[in-house]
């Protein structure tokens, strides 16, 4: 399997694993209670569109697809079509009719362009039908509008960009997603170190150094931070500055509480120092 396909398969598998296979019988009184409530509402107000949408959504969630379809059809006759579109798109997504799902989500987003759950849904539907660029546009919009995201969301999208789009602009695009994450959730080692590696991979060493510098205070300039700085400097052949960083790290290590990781770090420092001595 190619790299993009591996990542794609991994992501899809995690989704499929939500819905698979076991012999346990689980009770679910919540569903039945909700259904009873909706049935009562529809009996009292047989032309209330929102009740049909909600009941269709509930049937979708519980896998009663024929009943869901019937309610969606009824809802479409009782009011504006676009009001049905989000849930109907979700229904199509669930039964794997991704093109139909995209059409419904698009209809909904024309009226509610920042509705982030629909954006995320459509991003996934686009991925399913191989429209990666469209998918990434929606993912980016989703990340900008969702009230809650975490660093992992941005890393995931950056990985998709790197594995599924044209090599030409993919690093630029991945870095802008990471920077969006930093602007929304604050600077953190998960995001910034990933961006550092991308800068190094395209030999933008100054950018890599600036990015790593931004983690100085966040990591209290730990011995490990100094070594990581030295590694960027070694890669960019700035031997003298690299040696300074290693020396600072070694001095700090002598003061820090000993751990196996710090002992390994010291060995790594000595190795890098020998490497630099050979170069100088």
């Amino acid at each position: 399997m190619s790299q993009p396909n591996i990542i794609r398969a991994r992501i899809s598998l995690a989704v499929i694993s939500l819905l698979c296979c076991a012999g346990h019988a689980f009770s679910h009184p919540g569903d039945e209670h909700k259904l009873e409530q909706l049935n009562a509402v529809i009996t009292q107000q047989p032309s209330l569109q929102s009740a049909y949408i909600q009941r269709a959504a509930l049937y979708t969630r519980t896998g009663n697809y024929p009943l869901a379809e019937k309610d969606f059809e009824a809802a479409q006759t009782l009011g504006d079509l676009y009001l049905v579109s989000h849930e109907l798109g979700a229904y199509y997504f669930k039964i794997k009719k991704y093109v139909a799902a995209v059409n419904q989500f698009t209809n909904y987003l024309e009226h509610y362009p920042n509705h982030y759950p629909t954006l995320e849904y459509r991003a996934e539907a686009y991925r399913e039908i191989g429209k990666t660029q469209k998918s990434l546009e929606d993912f980016s919009h989703f990340l900008e509008t969702s009230p809650y995201t975490n660093p992992g969301h941005y890393l995931t999208v950056a990985q998709i960009i790197l594995s599924e789009t044209d090599q030409g602009n993919s690093i630029d695009d991945a870095i802008s997603i990471i920077d969006l994450g930093i602007s929304r959730s604050g600077n953190s080692p998960q995001l910034q170190s990933f961006a550092v590696q991308l800068e190094i991979s395209r030999e933008f060493f100054d950018a890599a150094l600036t990015r790593h510098e931004s983690l100085r205070d966040i990591t209290s300039a730990s011995p490990r931070w100094h070594v990581e700085m030295a590694e960027i400097l070694v890669t960019s052949k700035q031997w003298g500055k690299a040696r300074d960083q290693l020396n600072q790290s070694a001095v700090k290590l002598a003061d820090y509480k000993k751990t196996p990781a710090r002992e390994k770090l010291l060995i790594h420092i000595e190795k890098l120092q020998r490497h630099i001595s050979d170069k100088l």
């Binding site: 076991a22 689980f26 919540g30 969630r61 969702s146 992992g152 953190s188 931070w225 990781a261």
Partner: protein
């Protein structure tokens, strides 16, 4: 991973949720005499529906509540608010909460406070000592509860299944603290840790109210509470066990996305209530390295570094799990404090109501994090100076030997390879003459960790579990001498500059297990 495919949000409900989540306003601070409360705007004499402290550091505290009051006031000292008082106008935050952030406080100092016009003798706390130093009383006093949320458990048939049991554990702790605490009678809790599954059955806001805020009311007004996400915090999972019909099962959510929470009474996917309730440090401002997320974070309290990991959401996705692990390494690499304690819900070693030997695919994959946390995170704990790891999930108490390098199933455990040994060449027990040392005498390295399952703070159950994981110590107080205790209880952890002592206290207030690490 990004949520894929389960966004079935009813539009109107969704819009109303969004409408009330974006109403933050800035704090404003005034300083005046407390007796001028008549001039205080927007106050209410009512006791807040919930009131708790967040992120107590050496210089700051967040007073958080739900209720009419629009400001909180605070003064140094032990008595009523008669000294010079500082008041802060609250900002409104998600979940109809109010938060007042007080900064520039003095370390290791007693404060009293009020919320609106509500004041009570119980509204007091102590700031943390300066980072790196133990408190003036010499000891960081930590109370830890896991799977305590049974005060609201009415599952499956609607009747309370464990009435009063969480309260019994609380009373047992209070009795121990008042009568038996060998260090200081009635010592205030400095740090209150929740190990997950603290509000059964679905972690709804209402269940948090009944299982936590209405039960631990006084401790929550006097100590900062620091939680981690358990499987029940994520509500009910959407499962299709027969392939024909989707059902919703509490505690069985498999998503890595916190926006994909659903409860049995409301199947509309939405943000996990946990994140609306707690205000946790994402920027390292209470010590530790910025995590950029409230799902996992760290903080310092005096000479102890605490880390709360997310084994329920982040652990379920490879990219997010790697990100959390990378952050943990950066965090622990910066840490220089005397002791390090890590919490997360899914225990790496257990033979209680959950089994750490289950295959990843067993039981629908609900317990996969147990294996991933063991394989990918225990090496970090050992290499980066962690001393104690706490989890819950299994509803019993199990405490390990001083471990290194055990990544496989229980039957691959070899005490000679994986644990600290006593003079007889057997696994050392951790108490009496066999207490542990941070730098292991065996390896001459700080490379060992004690893992504890403390999931019986609300109920006891074993299912098929036999409490026989060989990495856990044989419990002297267990009538069958199993490697665990099928007893209600909680853990009290005390950290001085030279000694870390953890005790399991049962619901009667008796000490049932002790482990000591010295440095």
């Amino acid at each position: 991973m990004l949520m894929i495919g389960k966004r079935l949000i009813a539009t109107m409900v969704f819009l109303s949720i969004i409408g009330c989540t974006l109403t933050a306003q800035q704090n404003s601070i005034t300083t005046f005499g407390a007796n001028t409360s008549g001039t205080t705007p927007n106050t209410s004499p009512q006791k807040p529906e919930r009131l708790f402290l967040q992120q107590i550091s050496d210089v700051s505290v967040i007073i958080k509540w739900r209720g009419e009051a629009m400001q909180a006031c605070l003064a140094t000292g032990a008595g009523p608010l008669t000294e010079k008082t500082t008041c802060v106008t609250a900002k409104e935050t998600t979940g109809r909460h109010k938060e007042a952030l007080f900064e520039q406080l003095t370390a290791d100092t007693a404060y009293v406070y009020s919320v609106g016009e509500y004041s009570a003798p119980s509204l007091r706390f102590r700031t943390a000592p300066p980072t790196g130093s133990p408190p003036k009383d010499g000891n960081v006093h930590v109370w830890i509860i896991g799977d305590s949320g049974t005060a609201t458990e009415q599952y499956p048939l609607g009747n309370y299944t464990h009435p009063g049991e969480a309260k019994m554990v609380l009373d047992g702790f209070l009795k121990y603290n008042a009568e038996s605490n060998p260090l200081l009678k009635n010592e205030a809790v400095d740090v209150f840790l929740l190990l997950g599954d603290n509000a059964y059955i679905d972690g709804t806001d209402k269940e948090w109210q009944g299982a936590v805020f209405d039960l631990y009311t006084e401790i929550l007004t006097q100590s900062a509470v620091w939680p981690t996400i358990g499987n029940h915090e994520m509500g009910s999972g959407e499962l299709n066990p027969t392939g024909t019909r989707i059902v919703h099962y509490p505690g069985a959510s498999l998503t890595a996305n916190p926006n994909n929470y659903m409860s049995r009474e409301n199947l509309t996917p939405r943000r996990i209530p946990y994140l609306d309730i707690f205000t946790l440090p994402t920027d390292g401002n209470v010590g530790g390295v910025a995590s950029g997320t409230e799902q996992y974070y760290s903080f310092d309290y005096g000479n102890v570094h605490f880390v709360s990991l997310d084994s329920q959401l982040s652990a379920r996705d490879k990219i997010q799990r790697d990100a959390m692990r990378g952050w943990l390494i950066a965090d622990l690499s910066s840490n220089q404090l005397d002791w390090t304690v890590v919490i997360f819900h899914h225990p790496p070693y257990t033979k209680g109501s959950h089994d750490s030997d289950e295959k990843p695919s067993s039981f629908l994959g609900i317990d996969t994090p147990i294996i991933d946390m063991r394989k990918e995170f225990t090496p970090v704990f050992e290499d980066y100076g962690v001393d104690l790891v706490y989890g819950g999930h299994s509803h019993s108490y199990e405490r390990s030997y001083y471990l290194n390098g055990h990544r496989g199933d229980a039957n691959s455990f070899d005490e000679k390879i994986h644990s600290e040994l006593n003079s007889d060449g057997k696994a050392a027990t951790g108490y009496g003459g066999e207490s542990y040392f941070q730098v292991s005498p065996g390896s001459q390295k700080d490379d060992k960790v004690v893992y504890t399952v403390a999931g019986s703070s609300g109920k006891v159950s074993l299912k098929k579990g036999k409490l026989d994981h060989p990495a856990h110590t044989v419990q002297q107080h267990d009538p069958e001498r199993r490697r665990g205790l099928a007893e209600l209880g909680s853990v009290v952890l005390d950290a001085s500059s030279t000694e870390l002592t953890a005790r399991f206290i049962n619901e009667k207030g008796e000490i049932r297990d002790t482990v000591v690490i010295r440095r």
